[in-house]
């Protein structure tokens, strides 16, 4: 009998084959104490892909899952290798991770923190997953990240944009490649000032929950620094579907720019409603009325259809980027699935590669060793140019894309065009920035579990 806080069935799946042959009901104890949670000892290693498969973000989750499968294929030496060929670190050689074949389990987060934790726990306790990754909202990311910290496994965040994930809720075992609200604001503001002038009056509609708050704060701070004035900021319930009563009074307030701090279904509906009100055909203060959506995703742009045309926003990555890494990824993803990957697919693919590479460089699956390998790791060739995984808050720092809804799309995927690639210096902030939880925010100690 052994005593442990988290079990390691991954080990048993492989080592118990020997035991299966025993006809007699011999009770034999598990091996002596292991070094860390779910230490893989057989010829395989299990990763846990925890994505929304039901609920409003199911399509985004499905795209993440496709990218994960592609990453596993590439790590195991299948396919054309994708970004492994362009990645600046050459440790990975297509023989799995540390010579172990990569296997995976999937789960459904339902975009609910309880369900996401239950799913992640079953991966850790039942399937012996050594790393958990995925998710499509910040609530889920923060909840699962805290779980992984307790359990002693690595969490590689998927799509999560709130400052909190690597701000006030940052954890030593959690890592985020995706950008955040602060970066969106910092990247957007100069482009907006350039396009629309510096004396704009902005009206914010903000989703009434944590991500909305951090985004509103970030965009407000950056645009006000450029000389814009914030006329009003109104909170809208998450469950709202019809935004007419929030959009109708915008013109009366004297504002000439509407900022929609919404994501997902909220963003699709509020943007559709705003365009329907004909706001973009109006003139206020002698200027054309404008709408801004701080966080774009191609799937959401697809939902909003023609309404996105000409509207500025920011995004983590877009398939039309022309660097070698992006091209390689789009090629292998597109060849396999028949359409270009979304930003969610990109970030999850990259996160998987980064994790595998860190294990390879560390020479160990132990979370603390992996974390050390990831901290302050500089790399290139994964689609966003030179990138730094900052050790102080486990956030990636890289160029941010400012995009605009395309006026004449050539296909159903060709909805956004890149306006500017904001260099990383412009979006970098101090780890103890007030928007990031200030000096109290701490990673804590890394946890190996067991």
């Amino acid at each position: 009998m052994s005593k442990s806080n988290f079990t390691r069935r991954g080990l048993l799946k492989t080592s118990a084959v020997a035991g299966a042959g025993l006809a007699l009901p011999t009770i034999f104890t598990a091996q002596s104490a292991h070094a860390f949670t779910n230490e893989p000892t057989g010829g395989t290693v299990t990763l846990g892909f925890n994505v929304p498969q039901t609920g409003p973000y199911a399509d985004e989750g499905a795209d993440e899952l496709r990218a994960y499968q592609l990453a596993v294929e590439h790590l195991n030496g299948g396919g054309d290798g994708g970004m492994l060929n362009t990645f600046s670190s050459k440790e990975l050689d297509g023989t799995g991770i540390l010579g172990k074949k990569v296997e995976y389990v999937t789960g459904d987060t339902q975009t609910k923190s309880d369900a996401a934790r239950a799913s992640a726990k079953s991966m850790i306790e039942k399937d012996g997953a050594i790393m958990i990754t995925g998710g499509s909202s910040s609530g889920v990311a923060v909840a699962v990240q805290a779980l992984c910290q307790e359990a002693g496994v690595i969490f590689m965040a998927g799509l999560t944009h709130s400052n909190d994930t690597t701000g006030k809720d940052r954890k030593a075992n959690g890592f985020r490649h995706f950008f955040n609200s602060y970066m969106s604001g910092a990247a957007l503001a100069p482009v907006l000032a350039n396009a629309y002038g510096t004396d704009r009056k902005a009206y914010h509609l903000t989703a009434d929950y944590n991500w909305g708050y951090t985004t509103e704060e970030a965009v407000k701070a950056s645009t006000e620094a450029m000389g814009w004035e914030t006329v009003a900021a109104v909170k809208t319930p998450l469950t709202q579907t019809d935004f007419s009563s929030y959009i109708a009074p915008v013109l009366q307030s004297g504002a000439d720019t509407l900022v929609l701090n919404h994501y997902g279904g909220n963003m699709v509906n509020s943007l559709t409603n705003a365009v329907q009100f004909g706001l973009r055909d109006k003139q206020v203060n002698g200027k054309d009325f404008q709408i801004v959506v701080p966080l774009y995703s191609r799937l959401m742009a697809k939902g909003a259809g023609a309404n996105v045309k000409g509207i500025f926003g920011s995004t983590n990555w877009h398939w039309s980027l022309q660097d070698e890494g992006s091209k390689a990824f789009v090629k292998s993803f597109g060849t396999k699935y028949g359409f270009p990957p979304s930003q969610a697919a990109h970030t999850t693919y990259v996160q998987t590669l980064l994790y595998a590479d860190a294990v390879q460089r560390a020479g160990s699956f132990a979370p603390c060793a992996v974390a050390e390998a990831l901290e302050d790791f500089e790399f290139d060739g994964l689609g966003n140019g030179k990138t730094l995984y900052r050790g102080a808050d486990h956030q990636c720092f890289k160029d941010v894309l400012v995009v605009k809804g395309k006026e004449n799309p050539t296909s159903e995927f060709d909805l956004l065009e890149i306006v500017e690639v904001t260099p990383v210096e412009q979006v970098t902030y101090a780890p103890d920035h007030p928007q990031m939880g200030g000096p109290e925010a701490t990673l804590g100690a890394c946890n190996n579990g067991a």
């Binding site: 609920g55 409003p56 973000y57 199911a58 399509d59 009434d208 009003a232 109104v234 909170k235 809208t236 319930p237 469950t239 579907t241 019809d242 007419s244 009563s245 929030y246 109708a248 009074p249 013109l251 009366q252 307030s253 279904g265 699709v268 509906n269 559709t272 409603n273 329907q276 009100f277 004909g278 055909d281 109006k282 206020v284 799937l299 959401m300 697809k302 939902g303 909003a304 259809g305 023609a306 309404n307 398939w319 039309s320 789009v330 090629k331 597109g334 060849t335 359409f339 270009p340 050539t410 296909s411 995927f413 060709d414």
Partner: protein
């Protein structure tokens, strides 16, 4: 003043959507005595009728355009709708542009059939079962229906714009003598309001002034006696169910340009529509309509910036707060009858 007029407009518009859904729900409850949790799903299916119809209109064959390339660098495949071949590009595009209003013609028969099939196939067997069983089985049906839609159409919202002719908004302010741009309202929403009013009026007129409606009303009041008079009330009730489904479906079709439809829009509306029905009083058609408009207007006022500054979060709870106040002061909602669904 402008702000208040604007929110009344908003409220009427929201209210017409609520009233339309609640009307169908009450129609089913009032005639058949069945609490139909799948009503939201009917609304959603109606919306997807519009999506399906516009997909049918844009059925295409692919033409390879050698001059352009797709994201992988291969020659671009361009979809050309058959309608372009049939009517030429301009006419074809005009028909596709009008997909949403045209799909009404498609939706009514489809929804009538869906309603008929639902009643004959499932609901019929639940007339004499407890309300809890009715709720559960229709709730299960709602889940099944929305999962089927999700399987075929995905989870992402699907844009279904209104015809170009209705883009933009009407300037009420200028018409009423205020400054321009202060009170504007989108054409499509005005159409939605008028459409809802017509449907509601038609349903009332149908029940009030036709023999069929008279028999159904008699059946609502006393099913047994009507049956004893030798009238096949069951058949009429089946037709009423089909009618209620069609009303829900039409509400869904016309709603698609306002919010891009997705598979869970029915569930989003379900709770709300029940609150509306109950506030109006179970089984009362005028009550449902009145409650729909009342809640719509109050919700719009609660979302005003000036109100939220005093009471932050009021917009989150207004509907429920109003429901509680009304149910505590008026035990059976606004116009409910005694003894209906009270045990």
């Amino acid at each position: 003043m402008e702000a208040i007029i604007l929110q009344i407009l908003n409220g009427l518009d929201k209210g017409s959507a609520y009233a339309l859904i609640a009307l169908g729900l009450t129609l089913i409850f009032g005639t058949l005595g069945v609490v139909n949790f799948a009503h939201g799903a009917l609304f959603m299916i109606g919306a997807f009728c519009a999506v399906t119809f516009s997909r049918i209109l844009t059925l295409s064959h692919t033409v390879v355009d050698e001059t352009k390339t797709d994201f992988l660098g291969n020659p671009l495949k361009v979809d050309v709708p058959y309608l372009h071949d049939l009517f030429g590009q301009a006419t074809g595009d005009a028909i596709i542009d009008w997909a949403v209003p045209l799909s009404i013609l498609f939706t009514v028969p489809v929804m009538m059939f869906v309603g008929y099939a639902m009643e004959r196939g499932l609901i019929k067997h639940f007339y004499n079962r407890p309300h809890a069983d009715q709720i559960l089985v229709t709730f299960g049906l709602a889940i099944v229906l929305q999962e089927v839609i999700k399987y075929f159409y995905g989870a992402n919202p699907i844009p279904t714009p209104a015809p170009q002719a209705f883009a933009g908004s009407f300037d009420f302010g200028a018409a009423l003598g205020f400054d321009p741009n202060l009170i504007i309202y989108p054409y499509w929403r005005i159409i939605y309001f008028v459409f809802a009013a017509v449907i509601i009026g038609a349903v009332f007129a149908f029940l009030q002034y036709t023999t069929f409606g008279m028999v159904v009303r008699a059946g609502m009041a006393d099913r047994e006696t009507v049956g004893l008079l030798g009238i096949n009330i069951d058949k009429r009730f089946t037709i009423m169910f089909g009618l209620a489904a069609a009303v829900a479906g039409l509400a869904g079709v016309m709603y698609t340009p306002i919010n891009s439809p997705n598979y869970h829009m029915g569930m989003d509306f379900l709770v709300l529509s029940f609150v509306v029905v109950v506030v109006g009083g179970m089984g009362s058609l005028p009550g449902a309509v009145l409650a729909g408009f009342l809640l719509g207007i109050l919700e719009s006022f609660a979302s005003m910036r000036e109100v939220l500054e005093i009471l932050p979060g009021l917009n989150q709870i207004i509907i429920y707060l109003v429901a509680i106040v009304i149910l505590l002061t008026r035990p059976r909602g606004l116009m409910g009858r005694k003894g209906v669904m009270e045990d």
